[in-house]
C-alpha cells in the first residue's frame, strides 16, 4: 500500500475541493429547507462558513482552491446569459407602469449606489472597498463579472451583495409598513432593485405581483448597472 501516493493524489486532484464544495452547498440547501427557508440560513452562507473553515484548517491558499473549482466559476458566464429568460417573462409588466418603473430604476438605482459610496467615503474606506461596494445591489453573477471589469475585488463584492440581500429581505417588510407603502408593485420593485435575488425570494411571500416586479427590477438593474457603471468609473479614473 502506498500511503504517500494516496495523500499526494488527494492533495493534487481538483476532485477533492470540487466534491467538498458541492457537498457543502448541498448541506446548505438541506439546512435551509429544514429551517423553513430562513433568510439568515441561505445555502450559500452555510456553504461559505463550512468551506472557509476547511480552507483555513487545511492551510490551503485561495489560488489552490480556486484552481480546483474554476469549472464552477466558469458557469457564471452562461448563467448570466440565462438571466435573460426570467427577465423576458417579466418584461410584460413594464407596460402597466412604464414611467414609474423607468424613473425608479434610474433614480433609485443611482441613489442606492451613491448613498453607500458616500457613507464609505465619510468613514474613511479606501478605493478598492468603495469600488467593490458599487455592485452591491445587483445579482451576484453580474456583480462578479462587473467588479472584475471595474478593478474592484470580486470576493468583497460578492460578500457585499449577499449582506445587502439579507438586510433587505430581513427588514423590507417592516420598512414598508413604517413608511406606509401602498402598492405591492412598489414593494416588489424596491426589493428586487436593492436586494436582487434574496429580496425577490422575500417578495414571493408578499404576493405574486410583488415577486414579478422584484424579478423585473433585478434583471433591469443588473443590465443597467453593468452597462453604465464601468463607463462612469473609467470616466472618473
Amino acid at each position: 500500500m502506498n500511503y504517500d501516493a494516496l495523500i499526494n493524489y488527494i492533495h493534487s486532484t481538483p476532485l477533492t475541493w470540487l466534491i467538498l464544495t458541492l457537498a457543502a452547498f448541498k448541506l446548505g440547501i438541506i439546512i435551509y429547507e429544514k429551517f423553513n427557508k430562513h433568510t439568515l440560513l441561505q445555502p450559500i452562507i452555510i456553504a461559505y462558513v463550512i468551506l472557509l473553515s476547511l480552507i483555513i484548517y487545511t492551510n490551503t491558499s485561495f489560488e489552490e482552491y480556486f484552481k480546483s473549482v474554476e469549472i464552477i466559476h466558469f458557469f457564471l458566464g452562461p448563467a448570466t446569459v440565462a438571466l435573460a429568460l426570467p427577465l423576458y417573462k417579466n418584461l410584460k409588466y413594464i407596460k402597466s407602469l412604464f414611467l414609474p418603473i423607468v424613473l425608479t430604476l434610474f433614480i433609485a438605482g443611482i441613489f442606492s449606489i451613491v448613498i453607500a459610496v458616500t457613507l464609505l467615503w465619510i468613514f474613511g474606506a479606501e478605493l478598492p472597498t468603495i469600488l467593490s461596494m458599487t455592485t452591491k445591489s445587483i445579482t451576484a453573477p453580474i456583480a462578479i463579472i462587473t467588479s472584475e471589469q471595474i478593478g474592484a475585488i470580486p470576493s468583497l463584492a460578492v460578500g457585499f451583495v449577499l449582506i445587502t440581500g439579507i438586510i433587505g429581505a430581513l427588514f423590507g417588510t417592516i420598512i414598508f409598513k413604517i413608511i406606509k407603502i401602498k402598492h405591492d408593485t412598489s414593494k416588489g420593485f424596491a426589493l428586487g432593485l436593492v436586494s436582487h435575488g434574496i429580496g425577490t425570494a422575500r417578495a414571493i411571500e408578499i404576493s405574486e405581483k410583488a415577486a414579478a416586479f422584484s424579478a423585473l427590477a433585478m434583471g433591469l438593474s443588473g443590465i443597467f448597472t453593468a452597462v453604465f457603471l464601468p463607463m462612469i468609473i473609467t470616466f472618473f479614473k
Binding site: I55, I72, A84, A108, S155, I167, K182
Partner: protein, 117 residues
Amino acid sequence: MLKGIIVLLFFQFLGECIAKFFELLVPGPVIGMILLLLFLLIKKGSFVSLDNAVALHLRYLPLLFIPAAMGIITQIDIITKEFWAIAIALFVGTIVALAFSAKFMDYLTNKGEKNEL
C-alpha cells in the same frame, strides 16, 4: 437540452466577441444576456430546450458564486481595518435605499393613477 446549452454558450461567446472587437466596457456575458433578450423578443417566446438549459443554470445559481466568494480569505486585512465603514454603508445604505426606492415608486404610481382619473 443540448440545443439550449449551445444557445447560452453561443450568446456569451458573441457577447465577449462584441465587447473585445468594439472595445466596450460592458462585460461580455451581459452583452450576451441583452442579445438573448432581444432574440426572445423578436422570436416572441422561448423553446423547451432553452427553458431546460436556463433552469439548469439558475437552479443552483448561488453555487456558482462560491469560488469567487472564497477569495474573502485574502481580504481579511481590509475587512478588519474598515469594518465599521463597511458595516454602516451596508446597513444604513440598504435600509435607506429600500425606503427611498419603494416610496419613490409608490409616489409615481399614485400620481399616474390620479392623472388617469
